[in-house]
Structures are given as structure tokens and as C-alpha cells.
């Protein structure tokens, strides 16, 4: 999808001026669901207090942030959430909320409309209640989330269903699409289960293999629908994964650290929620100091696609949605390759008709394996002699 000319210019200006146009702010990690695939630790280790969050929002507005996503954890577990939301709107932020919606009542839906929230993204894992509830580990959560969607729709709010795909819910994706149609809401899927923020990779076992995802890769309609809301959302997040083509993103892996960043409930600033590289803490430093002067942001901004040691030469790049954050988490190197991206790129290339597609990383790995096997044979031969 091409960015609209207005969005393209906005992205361009924010990139040129190093403006943090979009910020993803997790205001809590506490949650009232216990989703099997979640990467967070839900304990509260001292999350930001109300005045601290307001101070950060004031700094973000001064820095030029327009698009603000409040997420968590479950945002409505914060008793001060509506106070924070009201404050954010007084600073003229464009607001997107991410929630499981369990705590959204009819009255709260009215308040969200009154406050001018632009979009609410709600996690729905399946059209089958028992599958959804098994993933969230909260009985009745499917019915409550769906009721909340109806409350929000009644108020004319823009709702989007978000569905991370995993082994537990892949087979029900077509029924989820029908449910989204019935509710008159768009949906998006995410094929990536990410490692936990503490580095634990055990939840990656829930990922579908590239082979299992072939139907999703072949059928674009299964991957969700673009909506008018996406036009304003497109600058936030990965330039690659958003599918938005903007000249301003040419040559860089994604928007992380360039015109977007992530803030944790403890005030840590990261280039992206999927790039857990702490660049500073807002309890000790100003946002301006961290954004403009941290070596971590400088390093992320210096990465260029054509300088990636392995991927730059890969002939599957156009099929690849390599995420530098996942490269860091899964491969230990922001500039490196990692298996998951290669597997999906090879699958997409195969679906597109490329014969025997092989990523540069996999070709290199196989080359090394062959060399090791060959050297092993030489040793055995020498022993025979």
C-alpha cells in the first residue's frame, strides 16, 4: 500500500527532523488475562505514577509526537487511565488504544467517544469462544470482549480486531474473518509470536511453521483488511510490516528509532516494543536527552539495509519482512539474519513461483554445515590411513 501524499510528506518531515511522530506507550504490564503466548511479565515492579505519565506526555507533545498508542498489559486496569487519556487529549494527541476490552462498559464506550479516541484495537483470538478463552485463560472472556466491541460500535468508534496467529487458532482464521464481517470491523493478524522480554524463547513453540502458514500467505484476504484508519496509522511501527511504501523509509529497515519509539510502564525508552534495547529511563533523563543523545538510538539510526552483512546480498529481500528487533532477540544481532524471517521469505517466494528459494542466510548456513561434514570425512579418512 502506498502512503497518501499527505502521509508521505509527514513521514518525510518527521524523518528529516528526527521527530518522534508515533509513540507506543505501555502504561501497565498488569493484565486481567493470562494469554498463553504473551511476552510480558505481569507483575508490577513500580509502574509510572500519574504525575510521571503526565510529565512524559507533556514532553512527547513538545517533541512533536502526534500519534500516541496506549497499550499494556490491560490499560483499563490503571485506575487513573481516563485521567491520563483526558490529559493526553488536552495535549491534542491522536489516540489509539490497545485493549482486551474486558473492562469496557457501555458507559466507558460513551466516554471514549467523548474524548475523541480515534481507534481501539481489541485482541480476539478466535470466533470460537472455547478457543479464545483457552488462549486468554479467562472463561467468558470471548463473550465479554465481543459485548464491548458492540458497545464501542454503538458509539461509532473505530474498532479493529487484532489476532496473533499461533498453533491454537490457525485453523479458525476463516471463521474469524466471518465474525469480523458480522461485526463490521476490520481485523489484522500477526504471524509472529515473539520471545518474552526477559529473553525466554519457550513460547516460540506456539508459532506456526512457514508450511502451516501457506494458506495465509497465498490468500491476502485472510491477512486482514486495510482501512481508512490505517492511513493515519501507517507511520507508526515497521515500515516493512505495515506494508506502507514511503520514500522516506528507503534504505532503512523500519521506522523504529527514526520517527517512532516505545515507552515501558517503568519509563524505559526503547526504539520499538519489539526491540528491547533500553536507551534511557524517563525517571532519570528527559525524553529529549534520550531521543537525541542516546548511543542506542544513534546505533539503530545508523543501520542501512544495504549494509546488512548477510541480508543485503539476499535475493529474497523483496519477499522478506525482516524485523531488526526480532533479529536482535532471536539472533542476537540487530543487523543479522534470523531463521523465522528466512523461512517466511522462502515460503512467500515459493508461493510467488520462485523455484527452490533459499535465503542468503540459509545458503550460508548450509555451506558451513557441508564444510563441517566434509572436514569430518577427511578426519575419518586420515584415521583409516
Amino acid at each position: 500500500m502506498n502512503a497518501t501524499p499527505v502521509m508521505d510528506r509527514l513521514v518525510g518531515r518527521s524523518m528529516k527532523g528526527s521527530v518522534p511522530l508515533g509513540v507506543h506507550f505501555d502504561v501497565t504490564y498488569r493484565c486481567n488475562e493470562r494469554c498463553v503466548h504473551c511476552y510480558l511479565d505481569h507483575e508490577d515492579y513500580g509502574e509510572l505514577e500519574t504525575p510521571e505519565v503526565k510529565n512524559i506526555l507533556t514532553q512527547l507533545a513538545a517533541a512533536g509526537t502526534l500519534m500516541l498508542t496506549f497499550s499494556g498489559g490491560e490499560i483499563f486496569l490503571r485506575k487513573d487511565f481516563f485521567e491520563l487519556l483526558e490529559f493526553a487529549r488536552s495535549l491534542h494527541f491522536d489516540i489509539t488504544l490497545k485493549s482486551n476490552a474486558l473492562m469496557i462498559t457501555a458507559e466507558r464506550a460513551v466516554r471514549l467517544r467523548e474524548l475523541g479516541v480515534r481507534q481501539i484495537q481489541i485482541s480476539i483470538y478466535s470466533a470460537e469462544p472455547e478457543v479464545h478463552d483457552a488462549i486468554t485463560k479467562v472463561r467468558g472472556s470471548f463473550a465479554r470482549s465481543l459485548q464491548a466491541i458492540r458497545f464501542l460500535k454503538t458509539q461509532g468508534l473505530h474498532v479493529k480486531i487484532a489476532c496473533p496467529l499461533m498453533k491454537q487458532n490457525l485453523s479458525g482464521l476463516r471463521r474469524l474473518r466471518i465474525l469480523a464481517d458480522e461485526l463490521s470491523v476490520p481485523y489484522v493478524i500477526d504471524m509472529t509470536v515473539t520471545p518474552k522480554l526477559d529473553g525466554d524463547t519457550s513460547i516460540l513453540a506456539m508459532r506456526n511453521s512457514a508450511d502451516e502458514l501457506v494458506d495465509v500467505i497465498q490468500d491476502a484476504s485472510l491477512r486482514g483488511q486495510a482501512t481508512p484508519d490505517d492511513a493515519a496509522e501507517s507511520v507508526v511501527g515497521s515500515a516493512v510490516s505495515s506494508g506502507i511504501e514511503s520514500d522516506a523509509y528507503d534504505g532503512i529497515p523500519c521506522s523504529a528509532g527514526h520517527n517512532t519509539c516505545y515507552i515501558s510502564p517503568y519509563g524505559e525508552v526503547y526504539p520499538c516494543v519489539q526491540m528491547p534495547i533500553p536507551a534511557g529511563n524517563l525517571r532519570r533523563e528527559s525524553f529529549e536527552q534520550i531521543w537525541h543523545r542516546s548511543p542506542q538510538f544513534a546505533r539503530v539510526r545508523a543501520i542501512r539495509e544495504d549494509q546488512l552483512p548477510v541480508c543485503a546480498a539476499c535475493n529474497l529481500r523483496k519477499y522478506c519482512e525482516r524485523c531488526p528487533g526480532l533479529a536482535h532477540m532471536e539472533g542476537g544481532d540487530l543487523t543479522g539474519a534470523y531463521d523465522r524471517a528466512c523461512e517466511l521469505a522462502e515460503m512467500k517466494a515459493r508461493v510467488a513461483g520462485v523455484a527452490n528459494p533459499l535465503s542468503a542466510w540459509h545458503a550460508q548456513s548450509r555451506g558451513k554445515a557441508l564444510a563441517v561434514r566434509a572436514s569430518g570425512r577427511l578426519v575419518q579418512i586420515s584415521q583409516h590411513l
Binding site: 510528506r9 527532523g17 512533536g64 509526537t65 491534542h92
Partner: protein, 88 residues
């Protein structure tokens, strides 16, 4: 109208980014990018100026005559109104 304070639509999200005001409407997600003159008018409207005051400031800032400034201000405010960017 000249003494009337201009009131921006409070439901809108907006920010000045690199000298241009960008406005997003939550109802339809439409993104409006204001040019230099419109951004100037927007920022002064936000500060509670009325039409005449904004036109006067425009005269000084852009070195245009008073009639031109008045016409430009009224014209742009009419466009703002048409696009739902004003409360009044």
C-alpha cells in the same frame, strides 16, 4: 464575524511538525496538512485570537496588505469550517 473568536474543533488531534500543522480527525481518520499560512492562522486561533487579530498578525508576518490578509484569513477559516476543523 471579525470580532468573533475562532474556536477549533476540540475533537481533533493536531501537532505542528517542522513548521506545518497536521490535523487528524478521529471520526474518519482523515489527515489534513496545513500550508504555511493556514498553519499560522491555526496556531493563532488556538491561542484564542479573533478574525481581525489574526488578519493583523498575518499582515505583519507575511507583509501583505490588510485587505489581502483579511480575505486570506476569512477564506481559510471558511475552508476550515467546511472541513469540520472548527467548533463554531
Amino acid at each position: 464575524m471579525n470580532r468573533e473568536t475562532v474556536v477549533l474543533n476540540p475533537r481533533l488531534a493536531w501537532r505542528e511538525i517542522q513548521g506545518r500543522v497536521v490535523v487528524i480527525s478521529p471520526e474518519d481518520s482523515v489527515v489534513h496538512e496545513l500550508n504555511e499560512t493556514a498553519s499560522f492562522i491555526w496556531k493563532h486561533a488556538e491561542r484564542g485570537r479573533n478574525v481581525s487579530e489574526i488578519a493583523d498578525l498575518l499582515t505583519t508576518e507575511f507583509r501583505v496588505d490588510a485587505a489581502q490578509a483579511q480575505a486570506d484569513t476569512e477564506g481559510l477559516l471558511a475552508v476550515f469550517s467546511q472541513k469540520g476543523l472548527l467548533a463554531n
